[in-house]
Symmetry: C2
Subunit: 402 residues, 2 copies
Amino acid sequence: MNGALRSGVPPINARVAGLGGSPIRELLRIATAPGMISFAGGSPANELFDVAGVARSYAEVLAQQGPRALQYSSTEGEPELRARIAQFLTAKGVWSTADDIIITSGSQQGLGLIGQVVLDEDAIVLTENPTFVSALQAFALGGARFRAVETDESGMVPEALEEAIIRHSPRAVYTIPTFQNPTGVTTPRERRNEIADVLARHDIWLIEDDPYSEIRFRDEPYSPISSDPRLAGKSLYLGTLSKILAPGLRIGWIRGPQEVLETLTTTKQGISLQTSTIDQLAALHWWENHDLEEKLDPVRAEYMRRRDAMVDGLGHALPEGSTFNRPDGGMFVWASMPEPYDANHALSVAIADGVVYIPGSQFYVSDPVPGTLRLSFVSNSVERIHEGIERLHRVFAEDYRV
Amino acid sequence: MNGALRSGVPPINARVAGLGGSPIRELLRIATAPGMISFAGGSPANELFDVAGVARSYAEVLAQQGPRALQYSSTEGEPELRARIAQFLTAKGVWSTADDIIITSGSQQGLGLIGQVVLDEDAIVLTENPTFVSALQAFALGGARFRAVETDESGMVPEALEEAIIRHSPRAVYTIPTFQNPTGVTTPRERRNEIADVLARHDIWLIEDDPYSEIRFRDEPYSPISSDPRLAGKSLYLGTLSKILAPGLRIGWIRGPQEVLETLTTTKQGISLQTSTIDQLAALHWWENHDLEEKLDPVRAEYMRRRDAMVDGLGHALPEGSTFNRPDGGMFVWASMPEPYDANHALSVAIADGVVYIPGSQFYVSDPVPGTLRLSFVSNSVERIHEGIERLHRVFAEDYRV
């Protein structure tokens, strides 16, 4: 009976074991080595956090409602924070009330809950290719499988999406239509409407992940796909304060149909109870006492300078024939080197030269392209980006092709 | 293909849907009605939180290491907090280093992770009967099933445990040996050794849940079962700051074999990333700057007064022939009324009379006993307990038997 136990190997749920350790997680460890310049991680810039404002919010919450902040609270989240988020989403075009929102411990928890509740064993999810790997990890825990939808410089191709829906009978479509991770691509308004048409026609769940849209370098945000009223009963729209305020607090949310939120809440209760009460109240206090645009504008301006330093340097750093984009927001630049360059193989040389990125092949659902790489432009100062670009230049100047 | 979608019913993972809504959750909602005296919930007393001390810790953490506190951090938790917990556990007799510990978002998240990682579909878990239902919910999400082990006034009966192991080939044994929820029972030292003997002989996983042991009203704590060195490779020992500091922060931990912690961490990464960085650092700061015993002594003294008020009143409140215990710590008193009294049926009368408890039948894995009820003695002042006892008295004075 207990063979696995007796042999000394702990029994681990086969599905969980199959996920293995994340190579990206290993890379992020290397990225913290002394002297290393990391373009790998997706951490907001430490020096731009509003530490003083956050400190005031914690102090005032504890002074004014300390016992409440330290106590258990409802699994679905603090009502006032849910109302504040509903107001925020409504202003983005996604009409919402507090009852349409649950708070999650970062949007990663939202993805995990959706993986457990909405995605049965062997449910198929259509995704961009490449896409955000941590979403795949979260969904895979529920047993989901993935199929790629063809994309171009405007995101998912509507005709290809429809074809994939017909071919694969998916449970859901997962998309990051604004400043996508890892490619930085944004789907324009017209294309969003076409995607909504396809989704409405086929009655498929939309899982829309929108962590980056407030980090935009132009004035015209597009409404989320979930703003289409035809999708209201079929859309799970995820957001987070990680890139607006700070990721250390773990405050995210899901907006969706109330009957699904009810089941997501029951599941959340089983796997963690409420998101930190004090963090929720402090985040709410900060949000209510600051003008978000005023707080975000200097962050956007600095990130834009960093994007430009990165993009302007890449022509110098990468091999001739490489291509890369200049994203309108978010955190990442995506680059492709011509064959036979391989970003995986070049990585060990890069690490030895004191610079690290994530090979693009890590982000593919299928058919990884060896010459691709993802570079984060937000975590380093312009000076450090220049230095990192020089180091990258040395890597590829050595003509490191394989 | 998408029948469920087209009919307008959202597709919900069958296993999740099977859990249904928790009747206890509904009760806890009722418990917050104005004027209601609630003996239902397990919330620590609001007025005993160290709000001022916690406020100082948040302020100092943000002043001294603000950017770190607001940033992403490692999924397994802040190294200094893990080291502090290891020291705490070693002092309890469970020899540990920081590497033997991962931080979880409350011990509920620990239970959820164990359910996902260690308990395969259809794995059998042996439990006390009655037991902590939220653990069952967490484990059931991974597909586990439950079998009761016979208990007496000292907890699990070792012979019955061994018999159940032989009969059911379980993956694990789940136990709360100190101030058990819901019964308040504590397993004495000798009995712990006998249980460890059985577990070591059969090479079964021990999942030992220990949230309450610091809320003790006598001076002699027993070492956890996990302190037995023979169980080191087979024990997952859960703890929390919820009852030591405050549940609003969601800081718990699992101590276990490092290869299992590695998989628990990978899974945690997929379902939520790190526990709030700022909460971890503030909890650590608080812990390092206070004498825990000095902080807990007044809480223990007040809870003991409340326990006595509750227990001394129950003889008056409950029907003749009822039995109940006087637990040496924790939060709950367990009572049994003679047949034909039914705590489920009496509950609506109780609610109408302004007092609420949880019917004991909610906590059973099998063979629920209708006459049982769980009463929390920590959340109300002695005066409120007296009033609640009077209301309970009126319920049963009406001879409400069915």
